[in-house]
């Protein structure tokens, strides 16, 4: 099938493209991108571009041409979420690869990387193979993240090479971080052989103990056990030092504190091979969201304070934080409808991430170009998706509209307002603290795996 996206505002930070133009897609690949001359921009109406060449190899005939009018909308490389929980295998009552990828598409994501804390844990090639096989039916591309250690127990490294061959693109013990510094050092060293990043959920478990929210006046007032910011920062600093020692490839997951932003900024200045992500809830909500013991705002790391939000925005703006990921963590309603202490942590984030991130563009924290970097180009770069992958599973470059790349495209309207309705989430997980929020900038069309998904 051939798809022609016309007159959209095309943003492709990988090649510095920012202008009105057309994108031609053929057989699931980007065939051509044309930008109007800049002089057209000042004119009230955009004169049509000269038609794409007809005939010959890859030529267009009208019968198989699908045209999308993207006038007034942004056309950006498909969003890549490098931190989601798809729950399959093992927790299909929370989410499945099918529902999770559908939620991704609804949120504008064309690729997601799923964390290994399934049951069984993705700590060996057969689980990786299962996820990949299941994801073939999924609406978007799924790239599994393997565990760093067997059983996420922090003791023995997984077979990284074998798992890479099956499709793993990074390693992380996520919620059960590797506490043993020697094992973490080995992981950062060994993974270099395969060029894959180690993603660290930074939490000193001995310090956070059984805390359930940010430590401070509010946690004391609510009688809930607190997690100090230092529980995150100690591990951020440890892992930065280990990355410095090993020259390994470190990616820090879901940064939530001002102190972490500072540590990462300093490390980058020193030239440490470290990248970092944050999630929309860490720049949209403070700890105040749990004031009524609202378990939908229970998340790990916990929501912090205004000061932390400001630091995270600053970190996004100056490039300290490379990526906006969702940490999409769907849970069943019954699991969240219970004692705050006992409710699981996590927010179902795929369907609100773009709208919440667009607020940063509205506030002038990020440009739309930077947004496309944080949500597509940078994750692609970190996960090694910009170049054709050795693995046959990832068919082509992602995170870019360069000719020959996968035709993963997100078309969004930055003016349209949408009210978040948790009950209407495509994801099985309706657990969101953003129910009822009015967001601007939603994905209207997501193109993935050669299919066009469209909403009004």
């Amino acid at each position: 099938m051939t798809i022609l996206i016309q007159k959209g505002h095309i943003i492709d930070p990988s090649r510095g493209i920012d202008g009105i133009g057309d994108v031609l897609i053929e057989n699931g690949k980007i065939k051509e991108v044309r930008i109007q001359n800049t002089e057209y921009r000042s004119q009230k109406s955009n004169p049509p571009l000269p038609p794409f060449s007809k005939g010959g190899r890859g030529g267009i005939t009208n019968s198989e041409l699908k045209t999308i009018n993207a006038e007034g909308m942004f056309v950006i490389p498909g969003l890549i979420d490098m931190h989601v929980h798809l729950r399959e295998p093992g927790f299909e009552y929370k989410e499945t690869i099918k529902t999770g990828t559908a939620a991704a598409i609804r949120g504008g994501f064309t690729t997601v990387s799923c964390m290994p804390n399934t049951f069984p844990i993705n700590d060996n090639a057969s689980v990786t193979e299962f996820i990949i096989r299941k994801s073939l039916d999924g609406l978007c591309t799924v790239l599994p993240i393997g565990a760093i250690t067997k059983g996420q127990k922090g003791k023995e490294l997984v077979e990284m090479g074998t798992m890479k061959d099956e499709g793993c693109i990074a390693f992380s013990d996520d919620g059960l971080p590797v506490m043993n510094s020697l094992i973490m050092r080995r992981a950062l060293e060994y993974s270099k052989a395969f060029g894959l990043p180690i993603i660290s959920h930074c939490e000193d478990l001995t310090l956070s103990e059984d805390g359930v929210m940010s430590e401070g006046l509010l946690s004391m007032t609510l009688g809930l056990r607190g997690i100090p910011a230092e529980a995150e920062q100690i591990m951020v600093f440890r892992d930065i030092l280990l990355a410095e020692l090993t020259r390994g490839k470190l990616h820090i997951a879901h940064v939530s504190t001002e102190g972490s932003v500072k540590l990462i900024r300093d490390a980058k200045r020193r030239g440490v091979n470290v990248t970092a992500e944050t999630c929309p809830h860490y720049f949209s909500l403070t700890e105040d969201a749990v004031r009524n013991y609202d378990t939908n705002a229970k998340v790990n790391p916990p929501l912090r304070t205004k000061k932390d939000i400001e630091a995270i925005k600053e970190g996004l703006k100056d490039g300290t934080i490379d990526v906006i990921a969702t940490d999409h963590a769907p849970h069943h309603r019954d699991e969240k409808l219970r004692e705050f202490d006992l409710a699981p942590s996590g927010i179902s984030g795929l369907e609100t991430a773009l709208g919440l991130s667009m607020k940063l563009v509205d506030e002038g924290v990020l440009t739309i170009n930077q947004l496309a970097e944080k949500m597509s180009l940078n994750p692609a770069r970190i996960l090694g998706l910009l170049t054709p992958h050795l693995s046959s599973l990832i068919t082509g470059p992602k995170g870019t509209l360069a000719v020959g790349s996968d035709a993963d495209i997100t078309i969004l309207d930055t003016e349209k307002e949408v009210t978040v309705e948790a009950s209407k989430f495509v994801s099985k997980g309706k657990n969101t603290p953003f129910d009822g929020w009015v967001l601007k900038g939603v994905s209207l069309i997501t193109i993935s795996k050669g299919r066009i998904h469209e909403w009004q």
């Binding site: 004391m220 009688g223 809930l224 004692e339 705050f340």
Partner: protein
């Protein structure tokens, strides 16, 4: 008068609410002094003690308070572990409500559970202690006792001594006594006092000698043995040596100071027997006043629901 159907915490109460409960309790205390200690005030009502944590004194006090009001009482004790495995908290509470409960008196190891139930239930939820959050009826009976003994609360210097960080009794008392105009001090090792306490206007002392100077009321808190060896304090011996209430230390307080303890006491650890059994101790009166205060709470909440 009260304006909410539930008693979730002292935080949620206004000064008027607190005074109204204390005034009503005074009337019920008279009833308890009579030969016939029962009134028909809440006949036909049902109270359920839904206790997810072991408790004898609080549960018994609520049970007797309800009976004195001619309310039927059912005790529903659920070890938390079986709930973790089986029925959800909300299902348990809805079941109890379906049995016809007007009052659900709840104790749970997780903070916020009464708040969660209050949203889901029509019945009045009374917090009998939720995790390390609050234990409002204890603070009310303590305020009642202080007011009775001292004639006022405003302007008094009141010291809370011991494990503040894990104590819902301390939290509720801090909120209540501060609202009523007392000057509250906390005494204990830094590991047992949250550093945010100073932000809410109380004064923190780590030396018991300094902290007890000229106070009107000394409120001792129970030291939980299981905290020992967890980094909060090295041993009960060392704790007792540094923060235990001895007759010599009590001399630092005002001559007419009273000594309180929510119980159960560890004699010889946080409080010496001479003091517990001595003339300044009002510990047993606290227990009696607990009945009157809990009767008042149920009576006033029934009025809200009417």
């Amino acid at each position: 008068m009260l304006d909410k159907k539930d008693l979730l915490g002292i935080k949620e109460l206004s000064v008027e609410n607190i005074n109204s409960i204390l005034d009503t309790a005074a009337g019920f205390k008279d009833v308890l002094g009579r030969d016939i200690k029962k009134v028909p005030t809440l006949r036909g009502k049902t109270a359920v003690n839904l206790f997810f944590e072991p408790s004898t004194r609080t549960r018994t006090s609520f049970e007797l308070a309800a009976k004195r009001l001619s309310t039927d009482v059912i005790n529903f004790s659920v070890p938390t572990s079986s709930v973790v495995k089986g029925e959800s908290l909300i299902d348990t509470a809805l079941t109890v409500q379906a049995l016809g409960a007007d009052f659900i008196i709840i104790r749970h190891s997780s903070a916020g559970v009464p708040h969660l139930l209050a949203k889901k239930l029509r019945a009045s939820v009374i917090n009998a202690g939720d995790g390390t959050n609050e234990h409002p009826t204890q603070a009310l009976l303590d305020a009642f006792t202080i007011r009775e003994k001292k004639g006022r609360i405003e302007g008094l210097d009141i010291a809370l001594v011991g494990d503040i960080i894990h104590s819902r009794v301390a939290k509720s008392n801090i909120y209540g006594l501060t609202k009523l105009g007392a000057k509250v001090r906390l005494i204990g090792p830094p590991t047992l006092i949250p550093r945010e306490m100073e932000d809410i206007g109380v004064v923190v002392f780590h030396s018991i000698e300094e902290g007890l100077k000229d106070v009107d009321v000394v409120m001792m808190l129970r030291i939980q043995m299981e905290r020992q060896g967890k980094g909060f304090f090295p041993s009960t011996e060392e704790y007792s040596k540094n923060w235990g209430l001895t007759p010599e230390r009590l001399l630092l307080a005002k001559d007419d100071a009273i000594v309180m303890h929510p119980g159960p006491m560890n004699r010889g650890i946080e409080i010496s027997s001479e003091i517990a059994d001595g003339p300044k101790s009002v510990i047993l009166e606290q227990v009696t006043n607990g009945l009157a205060v809990r009767m008042a709470v149920m009576y006033l909440l029934a009025g809200v629901r009417k």
